[in-house]
Amino acid sequence: MSPRAAFWVALGSLLGSLSRHALQQWLPEATWSGLPLATLSVNVAGSLLIGWLAGRAMPPHPTLATLHRRHFAMTGFCGGFTTFSLFTLETLVLIETGAWSQAWLNLGLTTALALVAVALGFRMGRTGRKPE
């Protein structure tokens, strides 16, 4: 691991984590049908963003041509912004409180929406690029 790559990943992760924390402070108790909305939103939004970035990173006219920009934006920011551990923790807390249907809904919705978002983002990133 080059120190330079680690620096860009760490910087992106720092900003991603702060953005996630900000959203969780503003929407601390926000739920929809008992689902933890803040974590669901960051995971879906982060997936949309990484999909779009991955689409833009494709040749022939990549926006993210240099490796350190991809390290910063994708591995760093999107990786730090989204979180599997808080999502899993909140799902298990739903199970422990007996809210089984909410737990399943949280698992299913997070997975389905994150996958739809990443596919949509990827398409937008690929097709939104101006031909030259």
Binding site: L14, L18, G46, M74, G76, G80
Partner: protein
Amino acid sequence: MISWLAVALGGAAGGALRYWVNGLVVQRTGEVFPWGTLLVNLSGCALMGALAVLAGTQGGLDKATMALLMAGFCGSYTTVSSFSLQTLMLFQQGEASQAVANIILSLFGCMATLWLGATGVRLLLSQTGAVL
């Protein structure tokens, strides 16, 4: 204010460690199946489970430590965006069964490791006679 600094520090460290661990795994397993992201998410969830129990323990973790380790470190170390992007790539490469395997292993594997981390700490605490 201190909790924001803690999230930033933990987030930067978690992201850099994710990048390092993922690189180590990819060196050994190649890039087809995303073992690196899976291992990161499984291990991060185990740590999150342990920390969640400690946070709920009297005299366990103070607010700043929780922000540093849970919202910061674990939140940033684990990732949904790489998981969704890599699952999408598996689908696009025609590896639908590997994509589905990745989803199932990630979702249920992470629930299992988070539960194991939490249960392990609960057992340790009950043996050492700490107050829950």
